[in-house]
């Protein structure tokens, strides 16, 4: 029993990090936008904005409750060469991303998006919307007010959400296996663990990856909890 990681474990670890970082980085801007819309867009009397908001909320939250395998399957159908996204990418960029780590990043992004949006939305909801009105009265346009007031005030919530989404992405299995597969040298941490457990004596070999997963998850949860609390305390001040 050596504590050193095998090349296979290293590749799983680095792939997981790369996928997680890209997934979070790419989904952060749209998540902030959606979270802000959901947080502010609450008071309308008309049915159309209310229905739109409900639909948006539903679409965003769906991956939270759908079995990840189903999310993965739907993604697969979109990404296959004949699928809507697959066809577009092939025509426009001439690339096929199915079974590459890009596809895994997309799967992670989709699955962790609801967590990201929820955390950021809470951060925005904790901010007095009149602060933005005050900013606009002082000469700031709506976009200016958002970037100079709301976003800086919500930034701890944004980071907490990003950490949480990153952790979720590290743990992603169901959707990832659908679009990445489980090929040697191309497995994320959960895929590597799953593959190892299917080999004779593999259960004993995967303890290092299991340990790493548990530690990363604990760290991420603690960090995001701490950040959210700080955000909350600051709002009280």
């Amino acid at each position: 029993m050596t504590v050193m990681l095998s090349p296979e474990e290293w590749s799983a670890l680095t792939l997981s990090f790369r996928v997680g970082v890209c997934a979070v980085a790419a989904s952060l801007p749209p998540a902030i936008l959606v979270a802000y819309a959901l947080a502010r867009w609450t008071t309308s009397r008309n049915w159309l904005p209310r229905a739109t908001r409900l639909a948006l909320q539903l679409v965003v939250d769906l991956p939270l409750v759908l079995p990840p395998v189903v999310t993965g399957y739907l993604l697969l159908l979109c990404l296959v060469p004949g699928g809507p996204i697959g066809l577009l990418l092939k025509r426009v960029c001439g690339v096929q991303i199915l079974f590459t780590w890009w596809a895994a990043a997309i799967a992670s992004a989709v699955v962790s998006f609801p967590l990201l949006v929820r955390t950021i939305r809470l951060a925005f909801q904790n901010i007095d919307p009149r602060l933005e009105l005050a900013a606009r009265g002082l000469g700031a346009g709506p976009i200016d007010a958002f970037f100079s007031i709301s976003l800086p005030l919500a930034y701890q919530g944004v980071i907490a959400g990003a950490v949480l989404a990153f952790a979720r992405s590290l743990g992603e299995f169901g959707a990832t296996i659908m679009v990445l597969g489980s090929m040697e040298g191309r497995r994320t941490i959960p895929l590597a663990i799953y593959s190892l457990t299917n080999r004779p004596g593999g259960l004993e070999q995967c303890w290092r990856l299991v340990l790493i997963s548990v530690l990363l998850a604990c760290f991420a949860l603690a960090a995001s909890e701490w950040l959210e609390r700080r955000q909350y305390h600051r709002e009280l001040a």
Partner: protein, 237 residues
């Protein structure tokens, strides 16, 4: 020559119906009425943060709103300085950051405002580096007033600037307010439900009740019969 002409109607889903029309000719015009009578709504319409169902608002000859002609200026373009009851200082900026927020967003065509003079008149030099949460209520009030002044407003909208303060503090803020009003001579709407404050500061007062203007005239006349607890303090005659 009136600096403000207003004629607006707005109905809240909860029931209150506002139907106000008046002209402001004096520099400091008081708006008197019990809470829930529509005073804050009136200021919000002028500031552009509440869009009335229909009506017109003309400030210094420029239409801010005309629902029939489809005119509705964004809050940032109206250049009115609104002072909220609870100050709404930006919690993530220092006092100086708050003061410079509006200053840096003024258009170059507008007349300059002397930062040093505002800081001096409102005695803010010692506070510049501090975060808003460390300020007392009176200090916050002065910072908010300075911030509004520094945005170069064509009119000041003061929403119950004295209500949250205890008596000794209120006396000191009154002094500051009088100083600002006399030094900069900015047209001002002063909302209050305390007759004594209006008698001291306003040259003209309208009285609002249940969304309608019920009286208008010199404070000493229209407020003469008002019964209000502050009278017992007997401090301002």
């Amino acid at each position: 020559m009136s600096w403000l002409e207003l004629d607006c109607r707005h109905r809240y889903p909860a029931g209150l119906e506002i139907d106000v029309a008046f002209r402001a000719e004096h520099q400091v015009v008081g708006v008197f009425g019990p809470s829930g009578s529509g005073k804050t709504s009136l200021l919000s319409m002028i500031a552009g943060v509440l869009r009335p169902d229909e009506g017109q608002i003309v400030l210094a000859g420029q239409p801010l709103l005309d629902t029939r002609r489809g005119i509705a200026l964004a809050p940032a373009q109206r250049r009115v300085g609104m002072l909220f009851q609870d100050h709404l200082l930006f919690p993530h900026l220092s006092v100086e950051g708050n003061l410079r927020y509006g200053l840096s967003r003024r258009r170059s065509t507008e007349p300059p405002v002397d930062f040093a003079r505002v800081v001096q008149v409102l005695e803010l030099r010692e506070l510049l580096a501090r975060p808003p949460r460390s300020l007392s209520g009176g200090e916050k009030q002065r910072v908010a007033l300075a911030r509004a002044l520094l945005s170069g407003p064509r009119a000041l909208l003061l929403d119950e600037p004295l209500t949250a303060l205890d008596q000794p503090l209120k006396q000191r803020i009154l002094v500051y307010l009088e100083r600002v009003l006399s030094q900069w001579r900015i047209p001002t709407l002063l909302v209050s439900h305390v007759a004594a404050d209006l008698r001291r500061l306003a040259e003209w007062t309208i009285v609002i009740d249940q969304g309608r203007v019920v009286a208008g005239g010199p404070p000493a006349e229209v407020l003469a019969d008002e019964i209000e607890p502050e009278k017992s303090w007997n401090e301002s005659r």
